[in-house]
Symmetry: C2
Subunit: 328 residues, 2 copies
């Protein structure tokens, strides 16, 4: 047995020794990654309490808040994702887990509204049935860093209706709407009909909304459309496109906007209208998605992880591209 | 407006700048304490993700775990307190918020089973109706550091039944049992009948139990009886007494045991038996509780807080004995 695995004597624990002892008792298992996660979690959680001199009253209020976050959650509402979103954690985790070399399409956060029930559509079909939305078409392509088309990519797309609500936010609904998935064709392209996205507030009738209010923050997201692209051999891309000039362009409640993801819908000229069989003037978005190979993404992730570990001064190794203590 | 309150431009956020921007947007309100708590929370949460290179899969698993913790919680089961307990946070917060000078009775954690529905009893009454428990009496006194009795202290007491379950753990129950509150008399004393505490596992049929299992930890707490003492002018004392020789004396799943809180129940001699009208040999615990004046506890808390802030190198002041940034 290494010293790390000696069972600690859990008695007379106080402000100064509780952290080391909690870490020690959490280190009896065989999962090195789990142990590292718990060690960092306990360290940060305890440091937080020590640095803020957290009071019993504040601690209780926080735990009651977390109960509420859990209890308002359901199959179609994940309030903990929302909480993670407004605290910048979601954006950060995507940035860590899916690093992008220059030229690749940048990522954005998943948000709480992705579902696995979207239906497959083919080129030219509509993913929104909302008659009040402003019609548009999206002409997409998927390429690698060298500009070669990538076919057979599953593209998941979701957006709100014209009132700023996702299908799952309605108690009564007849199945998925405002969401679909497609596959890029042999030329790496796909196109579909949708509605021009609108800004909307994230759900703020629950505990996350109360927290935003306490922090004097608004709940709005700028107009956007979500995309998720996946194909074996390519790094999973979760992203979104944002409309230029949106009133919330620089104050997204969940920090998703990147300059490279800001787009403009332009009116279809005669040639485009004819090609896609839509009225002249219909709003058109042309969007290229540049994927990163799994290999390149993993190499970049490993490099970033090793640099981060070195800056911590820890002896670590990577297992499945994730750091674990190197005890050998 | 101070520079701290300039609205940040939330765009192009990445691993390196997301934290500062999240803190900036959280600093638009007027509650300085809330801002400080959020600043430390966001910093630690983001550092945790950066230091572990938290993956999207792990992040999602953690958020789903937290949903479960919230959803199993109810009026009579607070799984987030339990989670805080097994991570050492509860013990730590009590130690920070209720520091004890030498000689004072040490604190222990509240745990998830305190309720506000206990009934008042008077000297000599029983707080447990369990016929299978080993009968005992507890003879308590409440004193100040100089040994002067403190009268009129509300003493809240709770323990499990002989099977190791609190009343609230039974779906069908006829009101409170194994819990009561009393007041110390003019001599600072109180006494009651109860049953000798037994070891028990914390509820481990939920997500916290799953986590313990993953960490290869047992869920047991050593035999103990909870006490909470409160009176205006005295620092709130949350504590417990633990039975010497318990098999879990040095491995309490929630870190509550302190040597000074370990007690022995001894058989009543003839004189004691006569005085308290119990059978000779009945188990007796005599326990003094030494309270700290609110003034002394606050002074100690302030001193500890200022030392902690100094070690952080931050310019802070104390408001209501809690640190907030000193922006003047």
């Amino acid at each position: 047995m290494t010293p790390q695995h000696t069972t600690p004597v859990l008695k007379d624990l106080n402000i100064d020794n509780i952290t080391a002892n909690t870490i020690a008792i959490n280190s009896q298992g065989s999962d090195a990654r789990m142990q590292y996660l718990m060690e960092r979690l306990v360290t940060h959680m305890h440091d937080f309490a020590r640095e803020t001199r957290l009071s019993t009253k504040e601690w209780m209020a926080a735990l009651n808040f977390l109960v509420q976050v859990g209890q308002i959650s359901s199959d179609v509402r994940h309030e903990f994702i929302l909480l993670s979103d407004i605290l910048g954690l979601s954006l950060l985790v995507d940035a860590i887990d899916h690093p992008k070399p220059p030229g690749a399409t940048e990522g954005s956060l998943l948000g709480p509204f992705h579902t696995h029930e979207a239906e497959s559509i083919t080129d030219g079909e509509s993913m929104s049935s909302d008659p009040k939305g402003e019609p548009c078409i999206v002409i997409g392509s998927v390429k690698d860093a060298q500009g070669n088309p990538i076919s057979g990519v599953k593209v998941d797309i979701w957006e709100t209706d014209s009132t700023g609500h996702y299908d799952v936010q309605y108690n009564e609904r007849d199945g998925p709407d405002g969401r679909c998935y497609m596959h890029s064709d042999d030329n790496g392209t796909f196109w579909f009909k949708a509605i021009v996205p609108v800004p909307y507030p994230i759900p703020h009738d629950g505990p996350v909304g109360q927290l935003l209010k306490l922090l004097n923050r608004h709940p709005w997201r700028p107009s956007h459309m979500h995309f998720m692209l996946e194909k074996e051999g390519w790094d999973h891309l979760i992203t979104a496109v944002y409309l230029r000039g949106d009133p919330y362009e620089t104050s997204d409640a969940v920090f998703g906007v990147k300059e490279s993801l800001i787009v403009e819908f332009t009116p279809a000229d005669q040639s485009t209208a004819k090609q896609y069989n839509v009225a002249v003037g219909t709003k058109v978005l042309r969007q290229d998605f540049i994927l990163v190979s799994k290999e390149e993404a993993d190499a970049l992730k490993d490099k970033n992880a090793l640099e981060a570990m070195a800056s911590l001064g820890r002896r670590m190794k990577l297992v499945d591209h994730l750091p674990v203590p190197d005890l050998d």
